[in-house]
Symmetry: C2
Subunit: 251 residues, 2 copies
Amino acid sequence: MTLFEIRKMSARLPTPAPRTGRSESPCAACNVRHLTLCAALDDQEVADMSAIVSSVELGPGEPLFDEAEPAKNVFNVTAGAVKIYKLLPDGRRQMTGFLFPGDFLGLANEETYAYSAEAVTFTTLCRFPRKRLEALLEQYPRMERRLLGMASHELAVAQEQMLLLGRKTAREKVASFLLLLSRRAVQRGQKDSPISVPMSRNDIGDYLGLTTETVSRTFTLLKQAGAIVLQGSGKVELSDRAALEVMSDGV
Amino acid sequence: MTLFEIRKMSARLPTPAPRTGRSESPCAACNVRHLTLCAALDDQEVADMSAIVSSVELGPGEPLFDEAEPAKNVFNVTAGAVKIYKLLPDGRRQMTGFLFPGDFLGLANEETYAYSAEAVTFTTLCRFPRKRLEALLEQYPRMERRLLGMASHELAVAQEQMLLLGRKTAREKVASFLLLLSRRAVQRGQKDSPISVPMSRNDIGDYLGLTTETVSRTFTLLKQAGAIVLQGSGKVELSDRAALEVMSDGV
DNA sequence: CGGGAAGTTGAAGAGCGTCAAAAGTAGTGG
DNA sequence: CCACTACTTTTGACGCTCTTCAACTTCCCG
């Protein structure tokens, strides 16, 4: 069995219906509000958001939506981690992002999603029906502005990732990736090291444009260079951050 | 001299001051309005845009702005072609896009530009002072909505490019690139073949994550396969579009 | 514990990069 | 109009990084 066939299979995992439910007053108690679209909304606005939101819970590997499927909802990650990706017809996969609490997904200019989304770990999300959210945006331009800011930021992140994919070596890619996870952990109020790396080597490879084996070899290399320590169960200590910084830009 | 040194030099071309000027009533006569931010504005809105716009003209290779420079203006391409790119400290370059009439650039969430921009051919642009445009957006939520749509679209394009950079072969990359240029030409009301390919092999390489030599070899390969005909002076005929479509996704 | 998935390591090979040189193209000035 | 120059493109030979294929080890979770 080739690598591509394996990928194809993993892209066709059984699709259990997501466990979902309308919750009481979720937004008022939201603990990631400061990170997300809902930052700086007033009470009335939060109430309006509460009125249209429902919650979704996904286990590891469970799909949220597929590329080209009608984009009926947008989502906000509240806990866990989500991977978003695009596939080629033969099963080759490119992760276009890993999303963490506070991140937004499902925004689409077209009528369909531009990518597939799947839980990495046990994950909870807020779900907003797209039409109803758009109606709210019409009412509150401030939210629309915030959304534009988030989209602009995503665009800058995407361009940074293009630089990585097109021009960095395997070592530079992995070092950049670890620093990215660390920075994102800090944003969520966690420590910058050790960091949690919940995704598999295969997922990381598909994010960095590498194979599982190359990712694994490169982790070993960074370990031997004293830049990182693998602590087991997805925990990585960045023991020499300066070395990683240098390596991430290839100097 | 290494490839990187050459790239460094080309990134440090002399920087003549762009020829600019306030023009009379530019927007009313704008021939790319239907493609851009200004689509579907009413007369009042167009007048307001006219009041803050000025025009910029650039010769081939002239820079428009550099990454990390304060983002004082946003621009709209009205004629020609612009390349936007990011650099690594050692001079490696990744094009993150080629922009054509109707395309918008310079939008930044931060206070500085996320990338550098430079003219490919003789190019004209509309320039909007960022602060004044933001004030207009505040006034006309419809324009902000349009901008959000454009940013969402850019995001989908960026993700498609990540798939290309991370997972496609040289042949698939070049085939995808030619089809992209063709589709964009159609959007601008031009024929789908022959297309104008105004950028150098080196620029194309930096867009596709390849070297000049590999791009050149791949063009030769596509030519020999009968998929394209090089007509000279940057004109390429897509003589077998179906073959290119197949090659672009690697089937 | 035990079985299956995930991760690691090794060996060999392919695709693209690097270096080098020739061929083509465009701009300049006599 | 043509020769001269400088740059871009093409082609060739070779090498290296990353992929592929395969085997082994480790880690989980029942």
